[in-house]
């Protein structure tokens, strides 16, 4: 019979190492700075992380499916700008929110068309989209920031009770994405397409549909991030969100998503995002120079990815051996 999931200390450590790192960091930070664990600081950290983490979920889905989105920073800006314009035109927050989603989804459908119908690598297709969207945002505003956005700020600065809106958005989105990845045929298909596209095709999975769906979901997430971003900075910035796609990619990769596709989890992505966020927060609290901060962040990313690759190597070596001995016992 097949034994149930064996839990030994080593397996456990390698499977949950990312969360362990997070816990160790939180403990270390609370010792380094007494302010770290204060309610205000924690809310502050999560609020700052919300946008990057939501973008990271989009990258999680796409990278796991063997794709990537380099346009999310620019599409975020275009969606946010047009959303504010819609708000100023109609006065409806609902319409404004909807416009952001629709604009971002359209951009991502174009990404999907380039990737699936014209076989463009996602790296190149979304790089092109990055320029198109940024250009469109600048064209629409003629390079000017849109000021006085009124009640639009409620998305990024409002709160329900004591909980700030961005945190509510983050939690709701995280729960939905986790559900999609674990509990739907689409989620399973994402892992299969990223793990071996040809095998997915031969197993009857509608691969183009999976890619379209992945980009559309990413579009919804980028749209939400666009609304939160503009609302938080209290203006429509056509030059906003530059480099945010990298924040998202970094978070999900640090969280264990494999750049070659097929592996990645929602919870890991959250952990990855928090590790980077907490690192930046503690360095700010303890007065580390901001240039030094950037160097440290880079080092952490490198270490995280190297560790991940090494532990996977060890793991795959380890499993083969008991299997070999297993065969021997069976023959006797």
């Amino acid at each position: 019979m097949i034994p149930s999931n064996k839990v030994n200390a080593r397996n456990f450590l390698s499977k949950f190492s990312i969360y362990l790192v997070l816990v160790v960091m939180i403990v270390a930070c609370s010792i380094l700075s007494p302010n770290f664990l204060s309610g205000d600081n924690i809310v502050n950290i999560i609020r700052q992380l919300a946008i990057g983490t939501i973008l990271a979920f989009g990258e999680l889905i796409l990278i796991t499916a063997g794709q990537i989105d380099l346009s999310s920073g620019a599409v975020l800006a275009l969606a946010g700008i047009l959303s504010i314009a819609a708000y100023q035109g109609t006065g409806s927050l609902f319409v404004a929110f909807l416009v952001a989603i629709v604009v971002s989804v359209i951009c991502n459908i174009l990404n999907a068309v380039m990737v699936t119908n014209f076989n463009t690598p996602a790296f190149i297709a979304t790089l092109a989209m990055c320029d198109m969207a940024r250009g469109a945002a600048l064209l629409y505003t003629q390079g000017q920031n849109i000021l006085q956005i009124g009640d639009y700020t409620v998305f990024g600065q409002g709160s329900v009770g004591i909980i700030p809106m961005p945190i509510i958005f983050l939690v709701v989105v995280a729960v939905i994405i986790a559900y999609i990845m674990n509990n739907t045929r689409f989620g399973r298909s994402v892992y299969a397409v990223g793990g071996n596209e040809a095998a997915a095709v031969a197993s009857g999975i509608n691969v183009p549909k999976v890619k379209y769906t992945a980009f559309i979901l990413n579009g919804i997430l980028v749209g939400i991030a666009g609304v939160l971003f503009m609302s938080r900075v209290n203006a429509g910035l056509p030059n906003g969100g530059v480099g945010y796609e990298m924040t998202g990619i970094t978070a999900t990769i640090v969280g264990g998503t494999s750049f070659t596709g097929g592996i990645g989890t929602t919870l890991g992505t959250v952990a990855g995002s928090f590790i980077i966020g907490i690192l930046n927060n503690i360095m700010t609290l303890t007065g580390v120079d901001s240039y030094v901060q950037q160097i440290v962040t880079g080092v952490v990313i490198a270490v995280a990815v190297i560790y991940d690759i090494q532990s996977k190597k060890k793991k795959s070596n380890k499993i083969i051996l008991p299997e070999d001995s297993d065969e021997k016992t069976s023959k006797a």
Partner: protein, 494 residues
């Protein structure tokens, strides 16, 4: 001291994390002979070869070359000692030229430290002329066949003055005719005094070419003597450690109604007017040389590649072939010839791989039913004797035979009417092969139809009820079981 002995391995031990992989291995390779090493997957063949080639260090024992003790620390040293290895999976850069390949890693340089390409191409030209190879030095490797490249590798080894050449499954991806050419070359090298260590699962070949045979089982030598002291049955029973009553567990199964009918199936170039049928309980074989179009027909039939004309009826009803998705719905399933390319999703768990072709079965109503999935998969794994540490294990960590069984589970979960099996036992060791044959028999017994494409004739003859032979994209013969024999089939396959 015996001047006849080229290589002697004495009392070699190797442990991985305390688990013995090789124990007290002794065998000798005589000068100018072909020495076959046989054993099931996991018996320790590759570990032993890696020790001889310096990739692994032994934990005990000694290797002697010309009866002098040697320490081989790495492949570079092995090559210095005149030991070369031709790997099963040839690694080459398709865009590089014959000359570049020949001098890979040992580029001659001029005084300025620049690679001396003139010299490389001139030397290559001389080499090709000497070895009577019909290529030009600047021809790209992608224009050569696998067997050409293999030949090039072997001759390259010889040009390094190798006098012991290890060949790991050299015929696994070349045709029968190319195997003949390879064997001629091996015999020529043998006559020149070169010793060859030959690893193969194909027993017919071993008996054709080997002078001596060493059999490994569970990391130990169970027999080592001249090939004349063995026969096919004794080799197999020594390898698996039990008597193989019958290599093919064929059973008489009542043949039912026609399940699949293919009529005048044609593609633009690969095959033409292919017609065949499969009935309930029937195992229908497809024989032919590599490139005869068998795989291509099956891939089109399953909706993976386009075709130009032809009719397909399943259960008497004409069906439109669009893609794998609709084919699965229509009651077809196809186990691909290339397990790594079209079969497994390497990094995902055995469980996820097992349900991949029928996600609806376990994910429905907007929810994944994990418990149901778990029990469905474990039931099938128990039935097919899939050996895996647990259901979360990535499928890439399993042995080839177990991976193949997981893929069988994947298709059985779809409950197809007709199962197409393209090279179902490729790269699988003897014991696991037998289990796969039994499984195919069981599938036929359950009233399904089986199409079996295979390049191993004995396997088709042993398992099938009918065999279609293909040659150059056309069906050239349809043979009943009473008409099966290797010569007839080969005649139609040419």
């Amino acid at each position: 001291m015996d001047p006849d002995i080229k290589l002697r391995v004495s009392q070699i031990d190797k442990y991985f994390f305390g688990v013995p992989a090789l124990q007290k291995i002794d065998f000798t390779v005589r000068r100018g002979t072909v020495h076959a090493i046989c054993g099931e997957n996991g018996a320790g063949k590759s570990t032993l070869m890696k020790i001889i080639y310096g990739i692994y260090k032994p934990d005990g024992g000694q290797i002697f070359l010309d009866e002098k003790p040697v320490r081989i620390q790495n492949p570079t040293e092995a090559r210095k000692h005149g030991i070369a290895m031709i790997l099963q999976e040839l690694n080459f850069v398709p865009e590089s030229t014959v000359a570049e390949n020949l001098f890979l890693g040992r580029w001659p340089v001029d005084k300025m430290g620049r690679v001396d390409w003139k010299k490389i191409y001139a030397e290559t030209k001389k080499f090709l002329e000497r070895e009577k190879l019909p290529y030009s030095p600047d021809q790209k490797l992608k224009t050569l066949t696998i067997s050409d490249i293999q030949m090039l590798e072997i001759l390259k080894a010889v040009s390094f003055h190798a006098d012991v050449i290890v060949m790991d499954e050299p015929t696994s991806s070349i045709t029968q005719r190319e195997t003949g050419v390879l064997f001629d070359k091996i015999r020529e090298l043998r006559a020149r005094g070169i010793s060859i260590i030959y690893i193969s699962h194909k027993m017919e070949e071993v008996f054709q070419i080997a002078d001596d045979i060493t059999i490994l089982r569970d990391g130990m030598v169970v027999a080592s003597r001249p090939a004349s002291g063995f026969d096919l049955d004794s080799v197999i029973s020594l390898m698996v450690g039990r008597k193989m009553e019958n290599a093919y567990p064929k059973e008489e199964v009542p043949i039912g109604k026609t399940l699949l009918e293919v009529e005048n199936f044609s593609s633009s170039q690969l095959y033409k007017d292919v017609s065949f049928s499969v009935k309930q309980g029937e195992i229908v074989g497809f024989a032919g040389l590599i490139g005869a179009g068998r795989t291509e027909v099956m891939r089109s039939l399953f909706g993976l590649d386009p075709f130009t004309s032809g009719k397909v009826r399943i259960n008497g009803k004409e069906v439109k072939i669009k893609n794998a998705q609709t084919s699965i719905k229509n009651g077809l399933a196809m186990l691909s010839e290339d397990r790594r390319l079209y079969g497994i999703v390497p990094v995902r768990s055995v469980e996820e791989n097992a349900v991949l072709a029928n996600l609806k079965r376990v994910i429905y109503g907007g929810k994944a039913h994990k418990g149901e999935e778990r029990s469905l998969v474990s039931d099938y794994f128990a039935k097919l004797h899939v050996k895996t540490p647990n259901l979360e294990t990535p499928i890439q960590s399993l042995s080839g035979g177990n991976q193949q069984k997981v893929l069988f589970v994947k298709w059985l979960i779809c409950n197809p009417d007709v199962l197409i099996l393209d090279e179902p036992t490729r790269g699988i060791d003897v014991g696991a092969k037998f289990e796969i044959y039994r499984l195919i028999t069981d599938i036929a017994k359950s009233g399904k139809g089986v199409v079996m494409v295979s390049s191993e004739l004995p396997e088709l003859i042993g398992m099938c009820d009918r065999i279609y032979v293909m040659s150059r994209g056309r069906v050239t013969a349809e043979l009943e079981r009473s008409q099966f024999n290797q010569e007839t089939i080969m005649k139609y396959a040419m």
